[in-house]
Amino acid sequence: MAEEPGVVNPAVRVRGLTRLYGTRTVLDGIDLDMARGEFIALLGHSGSGKSTLLRALTGLDHDTSGHGELRVPDRRAVVFQDARLLPWKRVAANVTLGMRDTDARRRGQQALDEVGLSAHARAWPGRLSGGEQQRAALARALIRNPELLLADEPFGALDALTRLQMHALLRTLHARHRPAILMVTHDVDEAVLLADRVLLLDRGRITLDRTIGMPSPRDPATPAFADHRTAFLTALGISPQDRQQNTSGTKN
């Protein structure tokens, strides 16, 4: 990372984070500050360490060793690539899973309203489409009022059209609830479209860090968008010839 952004009272503060699997270094001295409400997308090839960084922040990495400073808020929520709804619980019960508050039901209904699933509250998850399941997973994350939302390729398993709808939904939810979001993706356009800041992870280090600074909703056809896209694709080692296969400007 080039310089200290100097965030006051950040949501996430990471300094010199190192993670090893056995003897293999997966994260190699990561420094990262996330402001409250900041939306960061994390790009990188498979094996670059993006998922490891995400898992370190979720606290789900039991079998790793390493060192470094890691400060994350207590109120965290995770959205996985698969919606991971319990098939034996109805959608509403999945959303409020583990919540003890007396008004959990009402809040569950409210969260389902927000993601447009209120009609499916009593459905079994197996009856929902992939996009609907992921909406339910978003509701399950949001109902916990997270200060930090961690999303591991949340739209990676969805078809292109559903993905566009989910992008709009995530933007809306982020604007309304303002959690800090760290979203792992390997889709450059998705990253530039949604995030305030996009990071590139390469062999366990952050090698590119760009603030997008365009008003939302963003138009992939603008030169500024193309500029960001080119920068990240080049850093990912995708040559201009490779890109010509795919001139439409949409998903790969």
């Binding site: 698969d82 034996w88 619980k89 899973l97 079994w124």
Partner: protein, 296 residues
């Protein structure tokens, strides 16, 4: 290019010519829904009506025919039409109802005890490492002991009364419940474990909301196997020092060569097995109604 009407008509005529060649002399239906000529349908087709009963009825028919023509001597196997008459005789003269009730009581009591024991042991050893260390080893050893060789051991330890009989049937019942429930508890999907951790669930909530419902299909599998075992064990155990029950009647019929009574008893055991399986399936469908939303 979208297909035009003449194209379709041409294709239709070509299809008719081909089918006529393939099925000479057979009339083609005059109208058929417009569709592309399809290849062989290789996937499973819907079951024929009453598919479950056809084979059984056919076998019964063969049996009846062989008995009627004398191919099957009544001394080898009593003819099937003796069953209603013999049944009526047993019911009105020999107090068949009490015998059935006695057998049912023994079987159900032992089944309940065995299922409860299997379930409790599976939970203890599936959910705690201490329980696993204490319980799983002995049960695996028990599994490799053929059930029948324990009969003399049980008789010398518990006598030949109902205590021994209940114990022996329960011993046959608890194993499938334990093995299948334990395996299901151990097989809990790592993704759900991760989810539970990320949601910060307490251990108890995790067990109640994730582990137990996830293991329920395994438990039901064990329960169905256990019920089958309980009837098998009942047949064997009942004949020891029997004074009442279906096993007693079976002993008597064997001693006096009443082949028709033996057949009636076999039919009764079959009905008990079929009815219990039917009830369990209904219970399972209710308890696991969420599963139907996955497959189809």
């Amino acid at each position: 290019m979208p297909p035009t009407a003449p194209d379709n008509a041409l294709a239709e005529r070509a299809h008719q010519r081909r089918t006529a060649r393939r099925y000479p002399g057979r009339r083609r239906p005059t109208s058929r829904p417009p569709q592309a000529r399809h290849g062989l349908r290789l996937g499973p087709k819907p079951r024929l009506p009453f598919a479950g009963a056809v084979g059984t009825l056919l076998l019964l028919g063969v049996w009846a025919l062989a008995s009627a023509t004398g191919t099957l001597s009544p001394r080898t196997l009593a003819p099937p039409w003796t069953v209603p008459g013999t049944f009526w005789h047993l019911w009105t003269r020999e107090g068949l109802a009490q015998h059935v009730a006695a057998s049912l009581r023994l079987a159900l009591a032992s089944l309940a005890i065995g299922v409860a024991a299997g379930l409790v042991l599976a939970l203890l050893s599936g959910l705690s490492r201490v329980g696993d260390a204490l319980i799983d080893g002995p049960v695996q050893v028990n599994r490799s002991i053929p059930w029948y060789v324990l009969v003399p051991v049980a008789i010398s330890a518990l006598g030949i009364g109902d205590t021994m009989k209940t114990t022996m049937i329960a011993l046959g019942v608890y194993l499938p419940v334990y093995l299948n429930t334990h395996a299901a508890l151990r097989r809990i999907d790592a993704r759900y474990v991760e989810l539970a951790e990320s949601l910060g669930l307490s251990r108890w909530t995790f067990v109640r909301a994730v582990v137990l419902p996830g293991a329920l299909p395994g438990f039901f599998l064990g329960l169905r196997l256990a019920t089958t075992s309980s009837w098998l064990a009942l047949v064997i155990i009942e004949q020891i020092n029997a004074t009442r029950g279906l096993g007693y009647l079976m002993n008597q019929a064997q001693s006096y060569g009443q082949d028709d009574v033996v057949i009636v008893l076999v039919v009764l055991y079959t009905l008990l097995g079929l009815i219990s399986d039917f009830l369990l399936r209904a219970l399972e469908r209710r308890a696991l109604s969420w599963q139907r939303s996955l497959g189809s």
